[in-house]
Symmetry: C2
């Protein structure tokens, strides 16, 4: 019994040391202008000696660096401490049904390089996995970062996923990808730790890194729509990491019939394929489109948006109906969860954003039942089209900044 107590106590002390190191590292991270050891002790309540020891370890590991010396009223000037941007790197890969995006981030979340390639139309996960691996290697070579400083590769993919096994389960818009062990295949090939999480979760994580926490919905517009959630300053994933399925919500009384049996479903009203189909039906597009050809659909969606922007009434009608449905979904999610903001993004956000006008937003504000207590704000993501890949990489960096990261980095 007593040896077990001793072991547990030692383990507990190890956890406390990790915890204190993380506290210090985050205090430094939150001080972009630098912070001194004395200020760290004051801010954390740790003893001067403990701070000195932890800072020595962090300097030795290269995660932080000493910067300028700040003069003080009397005595030695204090040396300011900063994160060392080149202390660690993380790679992010976003596998979208239309495009695969790659980024490499440094420790302060800056994108050093990015690349994007169309997702192979042929549903061949093995071939695609080989392409992903080759592109990761190219990114490492191109940036010249030291492989030993890469914490790992974060992969974002459409749900549902089996996060424990690192497997795509049965993504509706990626045929051929049923039960593909993507995480471990990439890990074995690149010999770096790899994690897998949902695309909407990664996007929400990127937005949280760059734009702060709070309680917000990241409304993701891709081949499917989805909801990334940050609740109480934390990325929310649900029991199995599959939160954010919203295509089933009914958001219109006169929408399109859906395979689920209802009409007016959010997913049906906002998927590119159905928008194009709708556009063809009402004469908002001139040329015929093979709806089973993803590239044709993508091009037709851009054409549909152009037609609406140049004033073609039928195209404007299709876009208006899409926006109204999506904002009704946002309203329902925001009221359910008492959120304070909505951020739009994802692969199709650039094409569709012109139709999310201030006029439409003010309708949302007017309808919003909590507006008097909790005004909501709406914006597009500042991160742009790399948001999924940046988010995937940020999930890797969470392993540096958190004592208890939510996703296993399988190495």
């Amino acid at each position: 019994m007593s040896s077990s107590v001793a072991t547990r106590r030692a383990a507990s002390q190890g956890r406390i040391a990790d915890f204190n190191q993380t506290v210090i590292l985050n205090a430094i991270r939150r001080s972009p202008d630098g912070v001194s050891r004395v200020e760290l002790a004051a801010a954390t309540g740790l003893s001067a000696q403990a701070v000195t020891n932890i800072v020595r370890q962090l300097l030795a590991s290269g995660l932080i660096a000493e910067g300028r010396r700040a003069p003080i009223a009397r005595g030695k000037p204090r040396t300011m401490l900063n994160l060392n941007p080149d202390g660690q790197y993380a790679i992010g890969v976003h596998l979208d049904p239309a495009v695969i995006t790659y980024v490499i981030l440094n420790l302060v979340g800056e994108t050093l390089a990015h690349a994007s390639r169309p997702t192979p139309a042929d549903p061949d996960p093995e071939l695609t996995t080989r392409e992903i691996v080759a592109q990761i290697e190219e990114l490492i070579t191109e940036t010249g970062v030291s492989r030993g400083k890469i914490v790992g590769v974060g992969m974002a993919a459409p749900g549902p996923i089996d996060v424990d096994r690192g497997v795509l389960v049965d993504p509706p818009n990626l045929s051929g990808w049923q039960s593909v062990p993507l995480r471990d295949a990439v890990r074995d090939a690149v010999d770096l730790p790899v994690l897998l999480d949902k695309d909407v979760t990664a996007a929400a994580s990127a937005e949280k890194w760059q734009g702060g926490g709070g309680n917000f919905l990241f409304f993701y517009l891709g081949t499917g729509v989805g909801a990334g959630l940050v609740l109480n300053d934390e990325v929310f994933r649900g029991k199995t990491h599959n939160s954010g399925q919203i295509g089933n919500m009914i958001v219109s009384n006169d929408g399109l019939p859906c395979s689920c049996g209802y009409t007016g479903c959010l997913g049906e009203g906002s998927h590119p394929r159905r928008l194009v189909q709708h556009g063809l039906a009402v004469g908002a597009l001139d040329d015929d489109v093979d709806l089973d050809d993803r590239l044709q659909v993508e091009a037709a969606l851009v054409q549909l948006a152009d037609n609406a922007l140049t004033g073609r009434a039928e195209a404007i009608g299709v876009m208006d109906e899409m926006v109204r449905g999506i904002l009704k979904g946002c309203e329902d999610i925001t009221l359910l969860l008492d959120l304070d903001r909505i951020v739009f993004g994802g692969p199709h956000w650039r094409t569709l954003s012109p139709f999310f006008t201030e006029e439409r937003f003010s309708e949302l504000y007017r309808r919003h039942a909590l507006q008097s207590i909790q005004p909501i704000t709406v914006s597009g993501t500042r991160i742009g089209e790399d948001v999924g890949a940046v988010g995937a990489a940020s999930l890797v960096l969470d392993h540096t900044f958190s004592t208890n990261p939510a996703v296993l980095l399988a190495g």
Copy 2:
């Protein structure tokens, strides 16, 4: 500077002492068969001396008691420690538009006494507040508990609420209660600390206390419907404590028109008033009902349920449509948040529960897109009609068991 550092460090040490005491108290709480000091040290990683000191303080405060002595292989038998059920009490009050319910709980969450009274039909908050105060005093007298051991009074009320000011903002089903400072009025009258939270949040808290955490939806059936949420083992409240507004969700393609402009809204399809109105329209009820008279509506709802149970087709139709709408809402919330269970309860659950049949639940399972990864379970609350009041009292007890309770107990 150095004095400020010293103050912060002392404050930090105070927080650590509080934290350790809470850790020990919760370890004792989680061991209904008792736990020894040695086991507490092993389980928490705290030193034997620290455990001894904290236990001494907890014994002195009456929160725990020494129980049986457990023999061990050699040496002195160990004294087991338990929560002292009579160490503290909490009062819970649930202000529902139809009924006000009162409970008094002991420290282990057992209900010592309860009472319920119809909510005065006359919208007079001052009169109602006096009634609430009188009923609280009666409960204290009746149970004979020592006033000094009552931690406080928890009040659950329909949203929206202003939790910081302890005010009902503009509850749609409680006319006359706009901006009523309920919390402070009760506090001044009973001279005990009082907190105010939303009814659905209180119900979710009660279910978490009794049935465990996880990720679940408490679907609340009252004069309005609402969603109580427990996410990652914690009661979720949103930014302003007003999460759970779901009456706006569209859950049917052929439902009733709603004042919001859409038809088929969850609230419209499940409020007692609209169910009775629907019943009258389709001939499921014989006698006319004054829809503005709440007591008549309540009675007619019971009659409507009886008519359905005795096989009257029109009444069965009304109930079926209500259940289908509610389960569609549950499906959408469950998929958005990746929950593992749904618990039904609230003032009207007893009347409506017979229509939530296994057949309807299996439809939900069949439709549930995450069922293969995340099977959901559905049940009625085990706490019964006191769930709101029990939950309100449990929010008070959270102040004993948490270092950082979510709601201010204004005293």
